[in-house]
């Protein structure tokens, strides 16, 4: 058997992946101009964090981290529904989804 397969993946790899996902989310949030892409970037950040939660939960054999992930997913789902509703409302009002043009608190 390939020794690589029997060996466990080191912790740092998971964390590195998690950090990469999170950073991609941050960069996407900052540079993307489309509101939906920005929204997706947020989801990316959340999942990056989720990955590190799961990693540590596995490492320390603690179930709390995994429970926390469920919570984050739940909140993310709620947020997605609300956020998408807002996006639709904004699009109806402004006929655009360019983030830079949505810079007023009022319509």
């Amino acid at each position: 058997m390939n020794p690589l397969l029997t060996q466990e993946v080191p912790l740092s790899w998971y964390l590195l992946l998690s950090a990469v996902l999170f950073s991609l989310g941050v960069v996407g949030f900052l540079i993307k101009r489309n509101l939906i892409t920005v929204f997706m970037s947020i989801e990316l950040m959340l999942n990056g964090v989720n990955l590190s939660f799961v990693t540590f939960a596995h490492q320390w054999h603690a179930v709390k981290g995994q429970i926390f992930v469920f919570f984050v997913m739940m909140v993310a789902a709620a947020e997605a529904s609300v956020g998408l509703a807002i996006i639709i409302a904004v699009f109806r009002a402004r006929a655009t989804l360019a983030v830079d043009r949505i810079d007023r608190m009022k319509l």
Partner: protein, 650 residues
């Protein structure tokens, strides 16, 4: 055995009157305002009278003096200094209280008639009650600080009442003048109090007296300075040289106010204060000398000005200053009870004269110029009679009240060695001048033919005549108690009269001299204004310079105006307003505002509304926090030289 005398009621009742009339007075019917304002001083007088009955032994509950009433709550407690809010009733304050509340009540009654048509009826009476409140606090004070409250308060009441007709610019200005000139005196009083605290650690009169009596060898030095500071305060309040200038202008107020505040009670507060702190003066011959000299100088100075004044109230104002000078002369020769005696009789006859003058002014429709009066004897018989009594009393003719007290002061002055003889002679000369200008007033106003025949004069109502009659009776009999009995009564609180060097023959000779000088003044006035009415004009023509000097009151107002007021105004205008106010304060305000505006202009760029810029700042902040938490800054900083060296080594 001591009964409770309820001293606190004495000031509090007029204060209640002030509050009710001051707050609600405009809405209350006039008769109610009158009732409240009259009941307050009458009730105060009753409390005082009750106390005096107890003290003179008419009531079984005999009270030994001094009787102290202290507020149970601590008032001021700072380190070693403890000051209680305490009232003291002793012989001195009892006499003062009887005068203040008694004469005060009479003048309240008189005011009901005098101010009856004024629009500010309730306001006037609330101020008058406020004055009585502060005056009784001043008199009852057991320590200098409580006295200072009353002292400032009567100043306030005086200011309010001088400027009562504030629509008139001269009245408003006179009020301000009185207030500002009094500040100079109050400065002296304050410094004196600070020195008392520094040297005695207390402001209570009885404790200061006890400390000084325990150390009879302690003379002069800092005591002189304290006494002179207090004298400055007294000179301001009691209109003595050089701070007398406010009193003649204070005649802008209603005439009953002039009678109550600027003749009978408030202006005598300075004399009262000197008598109250007499132990300090007794320990400082220099201060006593200053007091006596200031008193004598003021007496003759003001009397000479009064000779040529044509406004009836101004003549009386200068005569008040002159009589106050007599009182200070009495204090200065350590004859405090003679000074208080004169204070009392003066309160009677000067209040009488002012009220009579008010009744004359009231009768002929607001005219105050003596030259336009004349022949009022027939039209105002009652006023004429009582003015005559007042004039005889102030001139010091036997057996009216003024004779006894003035004689006591002059006699005490005569016994004080060579300087005392000079002071005595000045006093004697002043007596002559006093008789002259008072009879001049009398002749001009009441004798001869009416100079303005079209004026229809009418006698005043009974509310004004009643107080006049009582005061007239007091002006006749007020002195009959005699200085010996009066002095003996006051001796426990202000010391016995220094009479050991005299004998009764000398006293009688001096009395005759005083009366002779007064009669001489009368005779001259008679000659000038009845028998040879052309005489005054001849003298004016013969001595134009002297007349000009007197008629312009020695140009003292002009002198102060040039030396003090104008430089002060210039400094205020050019330095305080332009440099300090506009330059420094305005500059600082402008700078602060400018910095805030500038910072705001920069910081507002943050608030762009741009979502991505907010997110970028958020990320930057998070990065900064991470940097701060993850890098071990303390270690890095501590090892910075080592790292640097290590880098250079490699």
């Amino acid at each position: 055995m001591n009964a409770d005398l309820h001293l606190w009621l004495i000031p509090l009742l007029p204060f209640a009157g002030f509050l009710i009339n001051g707050i609600l007075g405009r809405g209350l019917p006039k008769w109610l305002v009158t009732m409240i304002t009259l009941l307050a001083p009458l009730a105060s007088f009753c409390v005082v009278f009750n106390a005096s009955l107890g003290i003179f032994g008419f009531l079984p509950a005999f009270n030994s003096l001094p009787y102290v009433e202290t507020c149970p709550l601590p008032w001021i407690s700072a380190g070693l200094l403890h000051i209680d809010f305490s009232f003291v009733l002793d012989q001195l304050s009892l006499v003062m209280l009887l005068v203040v509340t008694g004469v005060g009540f009479l003048i309240h009654v008189y005011s009901v008639g005098y101010m009856g048509d004024d629009k500010g009826y309730a306001r006037y009476f609330s101020y008058l009650n406020l004055f009585l409140f502060f005056m009784t606090v001043l008199v009852l004070a057991g320590n200098a600080l409580v006295m200072f409250i009353g002292w400032e308060g009567v100043g306030l009441a005086s200011y309010l009442l001088i400027g009562f007709w504030f629509q008139k610019k001269s009245a408003a200005d006179a009020g301000k003048k009185a207030f500002i000139v009094n500040r100079i005196g109050d400065f002296g009083f304050l410094v004196g109090m600070f020195l008392l605290v520094a040297n005695f650690g207390t402001l209570t009169f009885s404790e200061i007296g006890a400390k000084l009596n325990a150390t009879p060898a302690w003379q002069g030095g800092v005591l002189t300075i304290i006494a002179l500071c207090l004298m400055l305060g007294a000179a301001g309040k009691s209109a003595q040289l050089p701070l007398y200038i406010w009193l003649p202008d204070a005649m802008e107020g209603p005439t009953p106010v002039s009678a109550l505040i600027h003749a009978a009670t408030m202006v005598t507060a300075g004399v009262y204060m000197v008598a109250r702190t007499h132990v300090l003066f007794d320990h400082s011959p220099v201060a006593l000398g200053v007091v006596a000299t200031v008193g004598a100088a003021t007496a003759i100075f003001a009397a000479t000005i009064a000779l040529v004044q044509n406004d009836i109230k101004r003549v009386l104002a200068y005569s008040t200053i002159s009589q106050l000078g007599y009182m200070f002369l009495g204090c200065g020769v350590a004859a405090y009870s003679a000074a208080i005696f004169h204070l009392m009789t003066h309160a009677f006859f000067k209040a009488l004269l002012f009220l009579a003058a008010g009744s004359v002014i009231h009768a002929i429709g607001g005219e105050q110029d003596l030259r336009k009066m004349g022949g009022l004897r027939k039209k105002l018989p009652v006023t004429f009679t009582i003015t005559t009594i007042g004039v005889l009393a102030i001139a010091g003719i036997f057996p009216f009240a003024g004779f006894f007290s003035k004689d006591a002061i002059l006699y005490a002055a005569f016994l004080q060695g060579t300087n005392g003889k000079i002071l005595w002679f000045v006093g004697l000369l002043t007596a002559l001048l006093t008789a002259f200008y008072m009879f001049r007033l009398w002749y001009l106003a009441f004798m001869g033919k009416p100079r303005s025949p079209e004026v229809h004069a009418h006698e005043c109502p009974w509310s004004m005549r009643g107080p006049l009659l009582i005061l007239a009776a007091l002006s006749i009999c007020g002195g009959w108690i005699g200085i010996e009995r009066f002095g003996t009564f006051l001796a426990p609180s202000i010391g016995a009269l220094p009479t050991e060097a005299g004998d009764w023959r000398l006293e009688i000779i001096l009395s005759i001299a005083t009366v002779a000088f007064a009669l001489e003044g009368w005779l001259i006035a008679d000659k000038f204004y009845r028998r040879k009415p052309e005489r005054p004009a001849q003298y004016v023509a013969a001595l134009p310079a002297s007349y000009k000097l007197l008629a312009n009151k020695y140009f003292i107002d002009e002198f102060y105006g040039t030396v003090v007021v104008k430089p002060l105004l210039a400094v205020s205008k050019f330095f305080l307003e332009w440099v300090v106010d506009i330059g420094i304060l305005g500059g600082v305000a402008w700078l602060l505002g400018g910095v805030a505006t500038f910072a705001g202009a920069i910081l507002q760029r943050w608030q762009s509304g741009n979502l991505r810029s907010y997110a970028a700042w958020l990320a930057a902040g998070a990065a900064a926090v991470l940097l701060f938490l993850l890098v071990p800054w303390a270690t890095v900083l501590a090892n910075l030289p080592a790292i640097h060296l290590g880098m250079t080594e490699h």
